[in-house]
């Protein structure tokens, strides 16, 4: 409920992404969360991001809830039909998870099981409507359920993504809001100004926009993203800054921290910090903000 409270009061919320393991050894995930749990309001547990098979978001979130931390579970259209999605939502609520985030999911061809048949029984808008329906006490078939879940509901928005029309993105976000989504997580942002064309069109008193701050790990990673991830904008100056730094990792941590500080000053409701396995660097980042 911490996240909901912060979103509602406008207090800056810190979310951290924590990938469940590819396997059953959760010790690393647990150790990472234990180290930073005091500084993080909620942990976002991705549902097999990039279509790479690993422990499910619900499973990972349930394990983390056991540590007494708040989680955001992802429900994904790619791998489950409407029965399974609704069943997982009920299970999440039953396990005390109070935040859900609807995602479409990348195509299996991106991942490590490229022969898999994706499901997409329902799309993200229908999924958000399904969450709304469950919250009002009925399932997608209109059948009354015993006790309705209550979630803080979120989704994604491609704000600041290159090659996307801000008008279309806004329209899509409005549709998601009409379907019940309250908060929206953006793709990785490295330059706040990349969000401006989108933000100019958004009424931020209505939509909770949470930018993702991705911790770069090396110059190579920054260059790779710049060259290969067309929708993500990394300014050349940032690449130069990392290149010239004697301690590149430390510089990347500074970059992430500075960006978080900027986003906080700009009045965003919160930030999602993605560290891609470097959760142990989270305290350093947060200390600098």
């Amino acid at each position: 409920m911490q996240l909901k409270r912060k979103f509602e009061t406008g207090e800056f919320a810190v979310l951290a992404e924590i990938e469940p393991p590819k396997g059953v050894d959760t010790s690393r995930m647990l150790a990472s969360v234990k180290r930073v749990k005091g500084n993080v309001d909620a942990f976002v547990v991705p549902e097999m991001s990039n279509a790479v098979m690993r422990m499910s978001s619900l499973g990972g979130a349930m394990i983390l809830q056991g540590l007494g931390v708040e989680t955001v579970v992802q429900v994904c259209c790619r791998d489950r039909n409407r029965l399974a999605l609704q069943a997982d939502l009920l299970a999440a609520s039953g396990c005390g998870i109070c935040n859900v985030m609807a995602v479409t999911g990348e195509d299996p061809s991106y991942g490590d099981h490229h022969q898999a048949r994706p499901v997409y029984d329902i799309d993200i808008f229908e999924l958000l409507q399904a969450v709304q329906s469950l919250q009002s006490g009925r399932d997608m078939a209109g059948i009354e359920i015993g006790g309705a879940p209550e979630f803080m509901v979120g989704s994604t928005v491609n704000a600041g993504a290159r090659g996307k029309s801000p008008e279309l993105e806004l329209e899509e976000m409005n549709k998601k809001m009409a379907a019940g989504a309250k908060f929206f997580i953006t793709p990785p942002v490295f330059d706040k100004t990349a969000l401006d064309p989108f933000l100019k069109r958004v009424d931020r008193s209505r939509a909770i926009i949470v930018p993702t701050v991705l911790l770069l790990k090396s110059l190579g990673m920054a260059r790779y993203i710049q060259r290969n991830m067309e929708h993500v904008y990394i300014p050349d100056e940032l690449i130069d800054r990392i290149r010239k730094a004697p301690d590149k990792v430390r510089e990347c941590i500074h970059i992430a921290a500075q960006l978080i500080t900027t986003l906080k000053q700009e009045g965003f409701h919160g930030v999602l910090i993605a560290t891609l396995g470097w959760e142990d660097r989270l305290p350093e980042i947060l200390e600098l903000t």
Binding site: D107, P108, S109, H114, Q115, A116, R117, P118
Partner: protein, 222 residues
């Protein structure tokens, strides 16, 4: 062939009710065979629409054309000179034809006049049944020539499931269990060894899982 079924006329009326000139466009191929979108059906649909709008006191000019195919450029080109005369086209070809028309004639609304159902056969006049889902990786060699992907409700590659009773599928007593058919056929062919082998996990990337598909045959390209 591609099997289609007639759309409820109310749906078509809803699409064209604000138009002044409409072309009902048929196709001489699969949809003619399954009696959903050929020349005869073009005439029936056009007459029904004319009658409806006449009764409503609405003046809508409805013309009829049936092309050899709607899935080839050359045949679609036959209407290039007349397409601008129409506010809309109701294509009663399969979904392929509707889309190819829409790709070719950008500024004319093209509405579907049939529901495209499946790849199937004519069992008898008026009865068409499914045989293929175009999964892109045919396994009929090991299943006795009977396709579990299109004919088993669960698309099981290692059936039958526990719901198979008396040779019928659990979804309906009217539906044959595809795996019972496969077993019967393998027995007749003395190929039950095929049944005892567990089929490998299917690669669905050749199905729709890999996104829109294409066949690119350089050997036959001009």
């Amino acid at each position: 062939m591609i099997v289609a079924d007639k759309k409820p006329i109310e749906e078509i009326i809803e699409q064209v009710k604000d138009k002044k000139t409409v072309l009902v466009l048929g196709c001489n191929e699969c949809v003619t065979v399954c009696e959903a979108g050929g020349k005869k059906e073009v005439g029936i649909l056009a007459s029904a629409l004319r009658m409806y709008f006449l009764n409503q006191g609405q003046e809508i000019k409805i013309d009829e054309v049936t092309l050899e195919r709607q899935c080839d450029h050359e045949y679609l080109e036959e209407i290039r000179d007349v397409i601008d005369r129409y506010d809309a086209v109701v294509s009663i070809a399969c979904g392929v034809g509707v889309q190819f028309m829409a790709e070719k004639y950008h500024s004319t609304p093209i509405f579907p006049g049939v529901n495209t159902c499946f790849l199937g056969v004519t069992e008898e006049r008026g009865l068409w049944t499914e045989r293929c889902q175009a999964c892109g990786s045919c396994i009929l060699a090991t299943t006795g020539g009977i396709c579990p992907v299109s004919r088993c409700a669960k698309r099981l590659l290692n059936g039958p499931c526990g719901g198979s009773t008396g040779g019928k599928c659990e979804i309906s007593k009217e539906v044959d269990c595809a795996w019972q058919l496969i077993v019967d056929r393998l027995k007749a062919l003395d190929k039950m060894d095929d049944f005892e082998t567990i089929a490998p996990v299917k690669d669905w990337s050749t199905d729709r899982a890999g996104g829109p598909r294409k066949v690119n045959r350089e050997d036959v390209q001009p």
